[in-house]
């Protein structure tokens, strides 16, 4: 009980300190929550406990490539400084950035050209890969060892989901079973990777890697290549160019071709933003509901707030599954659309 009251006091103190900021910077409170809990970090954290140092890999046009194994090493070397803990700033511009009024030179040169550091969210993706690798290789070994036995346990659960991906997402959207089966591996990987990332983000202290736009962009880029390469491979170059006309009469090409070319890129872009926004939206709602307690400065809001948070959390477990499903099934739909009706030889066999 005493423990509870101290945390509450600490929380109210935080609320006061944020309130003390001038009104013009009110947006920065939101931004700070956004950065600290949804954004990327150097270093692996569980809640506020620093568990692990992740390597810093920084490339700059002036000082070249530099790698540091930890934050301490980076600070000791003195080429770079950390600004508020996250963005890397060159040491000689740090004072200006810190003062909040960087001049033009500092603005364009303060940050390194290319920051390829291993960050928190990258670590979460590696965790997901490790987990998936372990799960699927275990299941695969079980299949090899007991060829004639019915699947059991975890292997059975995985089989059910893989078959679901194959039969309900990929096959209905592809013109032939052969094309569908050649792509099933990609879709299974996509579905399970997004699903694992989403559920890792829902664990207490976890971060949703799919709630960062970089992750979802990378996934959508793979989708873009799969869509177009499959279309080129299956339907042929001529059909691919023919699709740019969108089925309209030839004299409409000045309008249709630009629209279709833009359409090629908006589809993966929509995939990117949909997954990113869905995965961060739930967390933002939870933050806002918790924030209500500090906004009203009374404990009596807490039960209502927590009740809604639990509701949103359960909703998010649903959304995590639904978004993995939607990303996968939409990619499959786009592949099917890009192929069009150019590969219908064994269509009857697909049903």
């Amino acid at each position: 009980m005493s423990n509870d009251s101290t945390t509450t006091q600490a929380g109210i103190a935080t609320a006061h300190s944020t309130e003390a900021q001038p009104a013009a910077q009110g947006g920065s409170v939101f931004k700070e929550i956004f950065d600290s809990s949804l954004g990327d970090h150097h270093g692996f954290y569980l809640f506020h406990y620093h568990l692990l140092d992740l390597p810093y890999i920084v490339y700059d046009r002036d000082s070249g490539l530099s790698c540091y194994t930890s934050k301490q090493e980076l600070l000791n070397t003195g080429v770079y400084e950390l600004h508020h803990g996250h963005p890397i700033v060159k040491a000689r511009y740090e004072a200006q950035i810190h003062a909040g009024k960087p001049d033009k030179e500092a603005l364009s040169f303060a940050h390194p050209t290319f920051d390829a550091s291993v960050t928190n969210l990258v670590a979460y993706q590696w965790l997901a890969m490790l987990f998936l690798g372990a799960a699927f290789f275990t299941a695969a070994r079980k299949y090899k060892n007991n060829i004639m036995k019915a699947p059991s346990g975890f292997q059975n659960a995985l089989e059910a989901m893989v078959v679901f991906v194959r039969d309900d997402m990929v096959r209905p959207n592809m013109p032939t079973v052969k094309i569908a089966d050649s792509l099933t591996g990609y879709f299974v990987a996509l579905f399970f990777f997004i699903l694992t990332l989403n559920y890792l983000g829902l664990l207490p202290g976890g971060h949703p890697a799919a709630g960062a736009i970089g992750t979802t962009t990378a996934l959508a880029v793979t989708a873009f290549f799969v869509v177009n390469i499959t279309a080129l491979r299956v339907a042929g170059v001529k059909a691919w160019f023919h699709h740019l006309l969108g089925g309209a009469p030839w004299w409409l090409f000045p309008i249709m071709v630009p629209i279709e070319i833009v359409g090629l890129f908006t589809k993966p872009f929509a995939l990117t933003v949909r997954l990113f926004a869905n995965m961060s939206a739930g967390h933002i709602v939870i933050f806002s509901l918790i924030g209500l307690i500090f906004f009203f400065k009374t404990l009596w809001v807490a039960p209502v707030s927590i009740g809604f948070v639990v509701f949103i959390y359960f909703l998010e477990t649903l959304v995590a599954l639904l978004q993995a499903y939607i990303f996968t099934v939409l990619t499959a739909v786009f592949v099917g659309l890009a192929i069009g009706d150019h590969a219908h030889e064994d269509h009857a066999a697909a049903h």
Binding site: A23, A24, G26, G27, F30, K31, F34, D168, P172, A270, V273, R274, A277, N278, A281, I284, L322, Y325, I326, V329, L330, V333
Partner: protein
């Protein structure tokens, strides 16, 4: 009212209008899918899949708007 106040006002109004648009989009969609399922239960599964894809596309547009609102609010 300074520019930050205007930005917040725009973000709040934007969220409201977005939610209105999504409501008028997804509502009839789900209604139609339910109706289709009630009339022909054997096609209910196909209708549901198509509904989820359509809902995702509508939601995608809505989320573009939401991201713009968030950018306005954090400006």
């Amino acid at each position: 009212m300074d520019s930050h106040g205007l930005a917040w006002l725009a973000a709040g109004l934007g969220v409201g209008i977005t939610v209105f648009g999504v409501g008028t989009g997804i509502g009839p969609l789900v209604a139609a899918a339910l109706e289709a399922g009630a009339r022909q239960p054997e096609t209910a599964k196909d209708a549901r899949t198509t509904m989820i894809i359509g809902a995702a596309l509508i939601e995608g547009v809505a989320l573009f708007a939401m991201v713009i609102c968030i950018l306005l609010a954090t400006k």
